[in-house]
């Protein structure tokens, strides 16, 4: 059991600051729907969820999207999620991370894609 305790301490000692994994919708406040229009500063077409950094007047939001496979299937390939493009997202703010939101849908080049 000493070995067990040692491993436990070791794991707890790996004290890196967690970037919340924020996968569940429950981490976002669905009572506060946001509609943001801005410019994509950074785009990640990545697993488990795609994301963009969206610059709106006075703020840069970190917007969590859907799994790449789903976005591809629904007509939002990586090529459309490009830096510099204008995008509108509708979604909900994270309950504790101030500049993060999860998008219910995204509109790029006039085409809206549902993300949930």
């Amino acid at each position: 059991m000493r070995r067990f305790a040692g491993v436990g301490l070791l794991l707890l000692a790996v004290g890196v600051s967690p970037v919340a994994a924020h996968h569940g919708w429950s981490s976002y406040d669905s009572t506060k729907e946001l509609t943001l229009t801005g410019t994509i500063k950074e785009a990640g077409y990545e697993h488990p969820h795609g994301h963009v950094r969206l610059e709106v007047p006075g703020k840069v939001w970190s917007v969590v999207l859907a799994p790449p496979t789903r976005m591809e299937h629904r007509g939002l390939p990586a090529s459309k999620l490009r830096v510099g493009a204008r995008a509108t997202v509708v979604g909900y703010p994270h309950r504790s991370t101030e500049d993060e939101m999860r998008a219910e849908r995204i509109t790029i080049d006039g085409a809206t894609v549902e993300l949930r």
Partner: protein, 164 residues
Amino acid sequence: MTQAGTLGWLAWLETTAAATAMRQSLWLYPIVEILHIIGFVVLVGSAAMFDLRLLGRSRQLPVTGMERHLLPWARASVLLIVPTGGLMFVAHATEFAGNPAFRLKLILLVAAALNAAAFHLRPFRQVAEWDHGARAPLAARFAAGVSLMLWTGVIACGRLLAYF
């Protein structure tokens, strides 16, 4: 290792080709997830069926026979589980390392492995005395109960780490 050193190492893992492929290739991530699930279904399923036998179900089946059938599958499943788990880890190493559900999962995994080892080193040595038709000794039943709880905890943490 210092905090900065650990963070640097974890960040480096995320830059490896395997990590990049996991994040950016369209189907690799889900395929790896599926293989991970198939692996732990076999592992935890084997452990659970063996544990239930130790707890008194299906006493007509010899414990040694069940062990000979289940253990090789359980061992082989680890070959599927560990590499796929490693691939998912490196894809988001810093995020996982700081995730409380992931840390607890690793602790429970180590505990489950030690529990299984202790069972094989102690009560299982005398299995001939209770191989079939008999009640397993308390130490064996205790290990079985602990095993069921630990594996349930591992699966719960594995699922919940996406929510922390």
